[in-house]
């Protein structure tokens, strides 16, 4: 059974957002997503400074099986990417919600968060 932390917001495309109160947020992919991808072998992320709209492709995650696009769950400017994923992309498999995070963002519009699933709705979507 997939882990779905209650304090995160979720996109239909299986990214999660951990929003802080200061208008910043952290983005990654869900436990369900990493389990379905299988062994993650490469993560391609945007350069810090990039501003991307919700729904835009922000990167690619490769597993032994396939390469899959990653989609912005909300609009924002990238302030930091997870440097650990360059040499250890399998961190996403081991810890999708903590050390396997992908982006830190300055949100464009915090109101977009309300359009995402909460954990109960995401869990329902997976069923």
């Amino acid at each position: 059974m997939s882990q779905i932390p209650a304090d995160l917001r979720y996109a239909k495309s299986h990214e999660w957002v951990r929003a802080a109160t200061d208008g910043t947020a952290i983005v990654g992919i869900t436990d369900f997503a990493q389990a379905n991808l299988g062994d993650i072998t490469y993560v391609q992320l945007p350069k810090p400074g990039a501003t991307l709209a919700a729904g835009q492709v922000f990167g690619v995650v490769e597993s032994v099986k396939a390469a899959s696009d990653l989609y912005m769950p909300v609009s924002g400017t990238v302030t930091e990417i997870n440097p650990a994923l360059v040499s250890a992309p399998e961190t996403v498999n081991k810890s999708p919600y903590e050390t396997g995070w992908m982006l830190k963002l300055k949100l464009t519009a915090t109101a977009e968060l309300a359009a995402l699933f909460d954990s109960a709705a995401y869990e329902k979507m997976l069923m």
Partner: protein, 367 residues
Amino acid sequence: MSTLRPTPLRDFHSAHGGRLVDFAGWEMPVQYRSILDEHRAVRRAAGLFDVSHMGEVDVRGPEAGKFLQSLITNDVTRLFPGRVLYSPMCYENGGVVDDLLVYQRGADDYFLCINAGNIAKDLAWLRGQAHGFAVTVTDRSDDYALLAVQGPRAAAIVQSLTGSPLGLVKYYHFIEGTVAGVPCLISRTGYTGEDGFELYHAPGAALTLAEALLAAGAPHGLELVGLGARDSLRLEAGYPLYGHELSADISPLTAGLGWTVKLDKPGGFIGAGALRAEHAAGGTKRVVFFRTGDRRIVRTDTPVTGSDGATAGRVLSGTLSPMLNEAIGTALVPASAVTGPLMVDIRGEKIHLCLVKPPFVPLKNNL
């Protein structure tokens, strides 16, 4: 929707966390926990593979040897009871029907192991060529399950379950015996580049044998291994996979398997004329092995470009080598292109293919 064929171990795989997928019409475990971890377990200790989808064929009769000699590219006369031979089997034009293992059990008694996806095609081909030979060709695929134990600990694990003297069974040899009380054809062969055994046995005994091997192997570090790691292990070892490096369009010479093609063997064989001509002319295409120094996997059918930027060929197989931590693979390219730079485009970035002679890791199966 067609129904997938389960192996006798379907529920065993499920109970051990196997992720079951369609492979050539069979419901097979692609992985249990992690393809990369399973791969490393085989190189470090041992792995247990269910390869019951493979096909088996009996070829018997006074002319069984002569019949096989006319069909396969390798030399059947090198066999004797207890010896195994790897060989492609070709069409007249040199394209490959299948690659297979030939076991000689007795004077007029041979046993073939063929690829799961080719069973129907191979049987039709074998039967079509059998006219005029005193030989019977019998599909035995439903009568055999097949478990492979591969890795540096494989011999110790299998030996702990059998009275047969495995130390006397050399690479590409076999004996008949019992393992965990289950009658088996015990073959010292495999598809990983490691030492190991392939155990042919009755499907009804598969669960008994699998559980005994898993229990005996656990203290050695044996893990269940799915088809995902089977593919990366064979690619690291430099072995071809039918439908990728060998096919109706890729001859064994093009694939670099010249050592299995005995052009001068007496009596000839189907495809000898075409292969002799290819050998004489040098061949227009070549299967090459590459590494990239990059972790991005170069996937099957990716176009390969030459120095002029024009498409020169295509990728046949590609994966991440868990031992080298970089992308490895094979490509089919014009023979004239192998000396020049070859590149692939991955999401807009040009990546150089560094051509290497396989294997990518030292083979440990023929020590």
